[in-house]
Amino acid sequence: MKVTVKCFSQVKYALGTDDLVLKLDIGTTTEILEKVIREKAGGKLDGVSLRVAVNQKYVPENTELNDGDEVAFIPPVQGG
């Protein structure tokens, strides 16, 4: 299955891209995908806490992904 990862703020800065399209095994969870993303960042996201949103809604930590999902690992927000 394919998911799109949207990248913002420190995630965008670390990965150098606005989004990634990844092929994942069926049953992949957000926790596994987060590890993939952190590895790609090569240590640049160490110490940065990330919340997960799937299809633009915050989801619990270990949510199973589906084909076509839009996923974002959301660093601490800073509006205002």
């Binding site: 703020s9 420190q10 633009q56 927000v77 800073q78 205002g80």
Partner: protein, 139 residues
């Protein structure tokens, strides 16, 4: 009533007229960009949003605020993109019968906004470089 806007241009304040009959309290907050970000001189901030989710979260938060506190109206504009030092990035107006619920609603709304609305700041430094701002310790 709730009104939420996320806009890419200078903020024009909501209209404050004398036509309201039951609002004894009109509370306006303008969040402005300061010349320093975490001790470092900046010339501007650039606000980044998660398009779609930011608006939805802000709308939902405003609705929750109007349920949690007995206010009449909450209007909010958040600016996105480059905002120079001194300019307003966040504009909120709350109308209520008395000031107390308005002040409580404003405090809670901003606190929650800074927890859950997916908007981020990039600092534009004096040399023109652009870096993600560190976490805001004012939360």
């Amino acid at each position: 009533m709730i009104k939420i806007e996320i806009i890419n241009s200078p903020i024009i304040p909501f209209i404050s007229d004398d036509n309201r009959q039951q609002d004894g309290s009109e509370l306006v907050f303008n969040g402005r960009v300061r010349a320093k970000e975490h001790g470092e001189a900046i010339i501007a901030l650039e606000y980044e949003q998660y398009v779609g989710m930011a608006k939805n979260e802000l709308q939902q938060l405003a609705e929750e605020t109007a349920i949690k506190y007995p206010i009449h109206d909450l209007f909010c504009k958040h600016r996105i993109g480059r905002v120079n030092v001194g300019e307003t990035s966040l504009h909120i107006v709350i109308w209520s019968k008395h000031r107390k619920e308005g002040i409580d609603a404003l405090s809670w709304f901003i606190l929650e906004l800074k927890k859950r609305v997916p908007i981020w700041k990039w600092a534009i430094l004096v040399d023109g470089s652009r870096i993600p701002s560190k976490c805001d310790h004012e939360h």
